[in-house]
Structures are given as C-alpha cells and as structure tokens.
Amino acid sequence: MVASSPELSASTLQLRWSLSSMRRRIWLVSAAVVLVSLTGLVLCWLDPSVGFPLRPGLDFTGGTQIQLERNCGSSCGALKTVEVQELIRSLELPEEPDTTPPNLSAPRVQLLDGGQSLSLRLPTLTAGQGQAVIRGVEPLAGPFIEGGQAVDTIGPSLGGQLLRSSLISLLVAFSGIAVYISFRYDRRYALLALVALAHDVTIVCGLFAWLGLLLQLEVDSLFAVSLLTIAGYSVNDTVVVFDRIRERRREMEELSLSQQVDQAVSATLTRTLYTSGTTLMPLLALIFFGGSTLVWFATALAVGVVVGSWSSIALAPSLLTLWDRSRA
C-alpha cells in the first residue's frame, strides 16, 4: 500500500478509542477484577464447608440427587423442608448385598419453583434404594407428577475422572491454540492470547466461587464445558483483533506500534461489540426462558462473553504496546 492512498488517510483520522493512552487504567481495572476473583477462590478454598476453590457439585463429589415434580396446585407452599428431612432420616431402606447401608442422617432438601419441585441430595444409593426414598417421601410431599422425576447417582470415582478429563482437555486446548497462534502470528501474540484467556477463565471461576460462598451454588460438569467454551470464544475474539493489528503493521509501517494497535482496535471495535451482542442474545434468552438446568450454564457463558470482549479489545492489545520501543 502506498502512503498516499485514500484508504489510509480516511482510516488514520478516525480514532474512536485511543487505547494506548489509557492502558494504565485498563490494567488497573483488569487487575482489580482478577484480584477480587482470586480472593473468592481462596476464600472458598479456606471455607471448611467447601475445601475447594469452587464448590463441587454432585458430578464431582458423587452421591444421589432426586428431583421430583409435585402435583400440589395451590398447596405447594405448605411443605416444609425440615419435615422432609425428618422423614428421610427415619426411612428404612432395603438392604443391598455388597454395599454398606447409606447414611441418611444429613439429607439436603430444597424446594424449587415456589414448592412445585422438590430436590433431594443424598449419599450414593442403589437404584432400588432411590425408588424406596421416592416411595417413602410420597405420603408427605406427594402426589408427584407421573414421569416428572429425575434420579442421578454418581459414584465417587466418576467425579474424579470427570475433573481429570476436564482439566486435561482444557490444557490440551490451551496448548493447541498457543501452537496455532505461534505458527500463524508469532510467540508474542500467542503469549498475550493465553494471558487474555487466563484472565477470562479466572474471572468466571471467581464469580462462581463467590456465588458458591454466598448462594451455595455448586459447579457441575456443564460448568467445565462453559469454561472450555469461554476459552475458545475468548481466543476467537482476540485473534480477530490481532489479525487486524498484523494487517495495520504491514500497511502502515511508518506508525509506531502503539498507533498501529490503536488503529486496529478502533477498526474492529464495532465488530467485537456487535458479535458479543449477538452471542449474548441467545444466551440471555436461555437464561430467562431456558429450562432451569441451563440457567447457570448460560450465565457462565454470558459473563465469559462480556469479559472475553473486554480482554480482546482492551487488555490483550494494550499489553502488546509494552513492546513499543518509542514509549519509555
């Protein structure tokens, strides 16, 4: 490209977002949010009732969860969780060979949707014992809607495997992405893409650590899926900005790196905001209208999309200007 071409003069004039001049403020915001997230993770870890950076759900700890849809009409509110707990404590379960009888002394009972749905968390039960619990609870909390029940039993070994396979796939995905970006761009870009990625994943984890502390929210295997998706989305977002920076570096060699970055970010700003907006629309729809199973999954993704946009239009490019020799 020749310097006097109309494209250049047109696009160098309009700067909508002078990134390099406020990079300190950007770093401050990101550092503060990451710090709050890390605090949440550490507090959760130190909390004796959790003991992990995130509150692990049934998928990771093992146990039996029973969900029952109640056919209760206007009397849904009358049921007390304490009564259900008392009843479960007194239940006699059928013996099963080769298994130690489950300890029912501390069942967790939750009423959802204004009492229309009952959720029980128990130690690992066999299929027969699970049915026995449902029959035992029915006189008090029933009648239940036929076909409206879900029973999940997860052995403790499966939870460990799930955690391991999630972590391994996350690491493999990270290194695969790093190799791809080093190959297509260079190692600096790969490093920054991973920094942006770690930033996004940490903040989403931190939010769920705080939710775990404040609302007793647990993370399940869907949360692991959402982290992996956020990783993919965050890199996708960042790569588009990097692609434009690379293009500007070729076309506007006479500008400093900071100016090139400012130009590229301004040019991709609309695209990044529109894309985040259009990705958020179905996610918000899932949060507000989707089944209750997907609400927190969609929340994790939505937060990831917002944080991912921030890191790709602000954090990652502003860190790139660190390599700018013209700025002391």
């Binding site: 109309p6 003069s9 047109a10 696009s11 849809e69 066999t126 299929a127 027969g128 699970g130 049915q131 809607i145 036929e146 076909g147 409206g148 029940q149 879900a150 029973v151 999940d152 039993t153 052995g155 495997q161 796939s169 996350l170 493999v172 695969g176 992405i177 791809y180 970006i181 869907l222 692991a224 899926v225 992996l228 998706t229 990783a231 993919g232 890199v235 996708n236 790569v239 588009v240 692609d243 293009e247 040019a267 609309t270 695209r271 529109y274 894309t275 907006g277 259009t278 990705t279 629309m281 179905p282 996610l283 729809a285 899932l286 209208f289 089944g291 199973t293 997907l294 999954f297 993704l301």
Partner: protein, 493 residues
C-alpha cells in the same frame, strides 16, 4: 453470471434435500430430552489382570449384551466409553433397579460336587439356611408393613450361632439372622469339591414349565463340547450316591440335585441338563438370565445411574426451543436493522445454516442432548460473527468510496483470514473436548464443532452466493441498501 447461478442452484438444491431429510428422518433425542435411564458400569481389574484392556472390555461387553437383551427393553443400547466403562441406555425405563442388578452381578457360576461323607452336615446346613431365610423374609415383610414381628426362637438361634462360632450379641435380630445366612453359605462351600466346570462352558440356558405342574418351572442347560465332557465326568462320579450336584452362583448355593443311579456308567452325557426345584416363572427367568449371561470374566461396578422422567424431558425441549427461537429472532431483527440488505441476506444464510446443521445431526447421527442444544445455539452466535466481520469490512470499503461490487469482493477477501483463524481456534477447543471429554461434554463439543465447520461454509459460500445473485439485479445495486448515504465519502478524495 452463469457461475453465480450455478452456485445458487447448488445451495438451493442442498437446502431442499436437507429439508426433505428432516421431514422423513426424525432427530435422535438423548435420554435427558425424552426420558429414560442410563447406567454406567466400570470394569474392575481382578486376579492376574492388573489393567483392563480392549480385549477384556470386549469380553465383558459380549456377556453384558446378552444379559441386557434378556431384559427386553426396546431400543436399549450398550456402548463402551473410555478405557474401562460401559454405558447402558434404556429409553423410557423409569425404574432401573432390575437392570442395575443384572448388570452389576458378576454371576460367577460353578458346578461342584459335594464331598463324600458330608450328607448329614450338608442337610443340616441347608435346612438351617432355608429356615433362617424364611424367618428373615417374613420379618422384613412385617417391618415394611409396620406390623408387630413374630417372636424369635432365641434359644434355637443361640444354639445355631454357637455351633457356627458366631457372636450372639451383634446388632438387631435381623442383623443376626443375616450374619447367620452369610456364615451358613460359607460353611456350605466348605463341603463342596472344587469347581468341575464353570459358566464359561455353558452355551445356553432356557426355562420351561413342568409338564405335570404348570406353576412350577425348570431351567434347562446346554454345554459346549468341553463342558459336556466335564459335566458327564462330574455326574458319573456322584451318580447313585447321596452326594449332591451343586450349582453355585457368586459363592452362594442356588441349587442342588441328586444324580440318579442310571447315570453310573456314562454320567449325564450329551451336554444337556435341567435343574428343577421350587422355581416360579419369575425366579426361573432370573436364574435363566444369569446363567445365559454366563459369568463375567471381570467384576463390574455400577458407578452412575441417571433416570429422568419423560415429562421432565418434554419440558426441557419446550423451554430450550423457545429460548433458541426467541434468541434467533432477536439476532435476525438486529442484523436487518444494522446491515439492511446484506443483513437480510445473512438472515437467509443463517436459516440455511440452521437447516444444514439439523440435517447433519440426522445424517451422522448426533444424539441431541440439552448441552448439545446449548452448543448449537452458541455456534449460531459464532456463525453470526463471521457475517458481521464480512459486512463491517464491506462498510469500511464503501466508506472509503469504493464501488459497491468491489467493496463486496474486497470485504469477503479481507475478512477471510480472521474468520478462518477464529473458527480454527474454536475448532481446536472442540476437538480437545470431544476426544478427551465424556458424556454430556462430548455432545456439546460435537454440536459446536459441526456448527463451526458449517459456519465456515455458509459464511464464505451461502452469504456470498446470495449476495452476488441479488447484485445481479440493477435495482438492488445501491449503496444505500448497505449503509446510510451520509457515511459514504465521495469517490476519490
């Protein structure tokens, strides 16, 4: 122009065949959407085998396959997952108790002869066993009904306990009875010779009602050549004596029978035998399934049981569909509002995208689960991104005063590299999830991965073809169809 029309015809033909496919072949729904039970078992290493390999998995699967078929649940599937797990899916099944029991049982089946000179002990133990079992069953039934239990003959119990060397004061009376049964089973085994043949030599098992009493059933056995020989040898050795032929399943005597003196010379030959006892139709069926399944070469452990009711599944489908459609409607409105004519084209291309996606799900086939639907919705977001990238580039070109046709061509060309990079990095994550993840994670990775691949195709082909086709009409070749006129700088500044 002819080439444009050729592409357009191809896209149209693909769309029509995809729609036709969806009308004739229904989508495969996962158990979380249509209700049913899913049981995961893990094969445990035992004895000489320290690590479970592909060969052992195959052997276990063959046995479990036979047992599952014996259950008679329509459309049940048994699949190997990972290195040492098997997943059984039972659509529509609401009470997986029986299935879990049949899967989990190792069912080590042995045919053993009773040791000579142990008749009195053997008879006494079996009698004690059946009495204790009868009393225990009665008491459990009474407890379940909330009735008063019959008084226990404590003197007789204490006597039996002291003979067997059991402690008399552990737990409730029921616990003591159970402990007694376990001890009796162990004592009975001591009176038996080592196994002459096992379930491995059994070819098939069946059941039939007795001719003279249709309420009583017998179970039939068929052995392979090696088994027939061993069985003949075994029966010959005890024919005409008081020693009983004992069938032991999982270290528990389930049946014992005398062998008549007529088999003294050759034993029961021909490799076929029947077991008659006090079988009802139901108990005969259960024994038959266990025998037919043979013995598992390795023990298995049930590690996961998930059951979901059909109405809960239907509710999930309905809500997720509403969410998906309303999200897409919002995106469509946004695209048309912001990008005008190409926005409309993108909406058409994205509708094709959704159609192709669903068609691929039925073709492969992909079983659609709730996380799978989430992956689909998310992939639509990424497909929109590709279109936004292209249209932003076209707008940039127009603002700089380029002609419409040239802007469109440059826009596609310039957006290409960032679209490919963005999609490929997402695809890398999908591949990691699909090959290393399990269950739900796999379903999500599959739909997102298919979506990302297809989005490359639709953004670079469908949108472009449709846009070029429409540009063939002079009336539409107006930059104001792309962005407000005031944003277009006059040609050549």
């Amino acid at each position: 122009m002819a080439r444009q029309q050729g592409w357009f015809a191809l896209v149209l033909a693909l769309a029509i065949s995809a729609a036709a496919l969806l009308f004739t072949t229904p989508l495969q729904l996962g158990l979380d959407l249509r209700g049913g039970s899913q049981i995961t078992v893990e094969v445990q290493p035992a004895g000489d085998i320290k690590r479970v390999g592909a060969e052992q998995m195959e052997a276990v699967k063959v046995v479990l396959d036979r047992r599952v078929n014996g259950l008679g649940v329509a459309e049940s599937t048994l699949q190997t997952v990972g290195e040492n797990q098997l997943v059984l899916q039972l659509p529509g099944e609401q009470d997986p108790t029986a299935a879990a029991r049949i899967l989990g049982d190792t069912a080590l089946l042995e045919f053993r002869a009773q040791k000579p000179g142990t008749e009195a002990d053997f008879r006494a133990l079996r009698q004690l066993r059946s009495q204790a079992e009868a009393i225990l069953n009665l008491r459990e039934e009474q407890i379940r009904r909330g009735e008063e239990t019959d008084p226990l003959d404590l003197e007789r119990l204490g006597e039996a306990q002291s003979v067997l060397g059991l402690d008399g004061d552990m737990g409730s009376e029921e616990d003591q009875l159970r402990a007694l049964l376990v001890k009796v089973d162990a004592e009975i085994l001591k009176l038996l010779e080592p196994a002459a043949l096992t379930g491995k030599q059994l070819v098939s098992a069946g059941r039939q009602p007795l001719q003279n009493n249709p309420n009583s059933w017998e179970v039939t056995l068929n052995f392979n050549g090696e088994g027939a020989e061993a069985f003949a040898e075994l029966t010959k050795s005890i024919a005409g004596t008081d020693q009983l032929l004992s069938i032991v399943l999982d270290d528990q005597l389930i049946s014992a029978a005398t062998v008549g003196p007529q088999f003294k010379t050759a034993g029961i030959s021909g490799g076929a035998a029947t077991i008659s006892g006090n079988f009802s139709a139901e108990t005969a069926r259960e024994l038959e399934v266990k025998l037919r399944g043979g013995s598992l070469p390795l023990p298995v452990e049930v590690i996961e049981v998930r059951t979901i009711g059909p109405t809960l599944g239907a509710e999930n489908i309905r809500r997720s569909l509403v969410a998906a459609l309303s999200g897409l409607a919002l995106v469509a409105v946004f695209m048309v509002f912001v990008y005008r004519l190409p926005g409309g084209v993108a909406v058409a291309a994205l509708s094709l995208y959704a159609l192709f996606n669903l068609a691929i799900y039925t073709l492969l086939p992909v079983t659609l689960t709730l996380p799978g639907i989430a992956g689909f919705i998310l992939s639509i977001g990424m497909a929109v991104d590709a279109n936004v990238l292209i249209f932003e580039r076209i707008k940039d070109e127009l603002r700089q005063g380029n002609t419409l046709i040239r802007s469109i061509e440059t826009g596609f060309a310039q957006a290409f590299s960032s679209i490919v990079d963005g999609h490929l990095t997402t695809l890398i994550s999908c591949a990691a999830l699909f090959f290393l993840g399990t269950g739900l994670v796999k379903g999500f990775a599959a739909t997102l991965g298919i979506g990302v691949l297809l989005s490359l195709f639709t953004a670079l082909t469908c949108t472009r073809t449709l846009l070029r086709f429409l540009m063939g009409y002079a009336g539409l070749r107006n930059p104001s169809n792309f962005l407000p006129l005031r944003q277009i700088s006059p040609p050549s500044a």
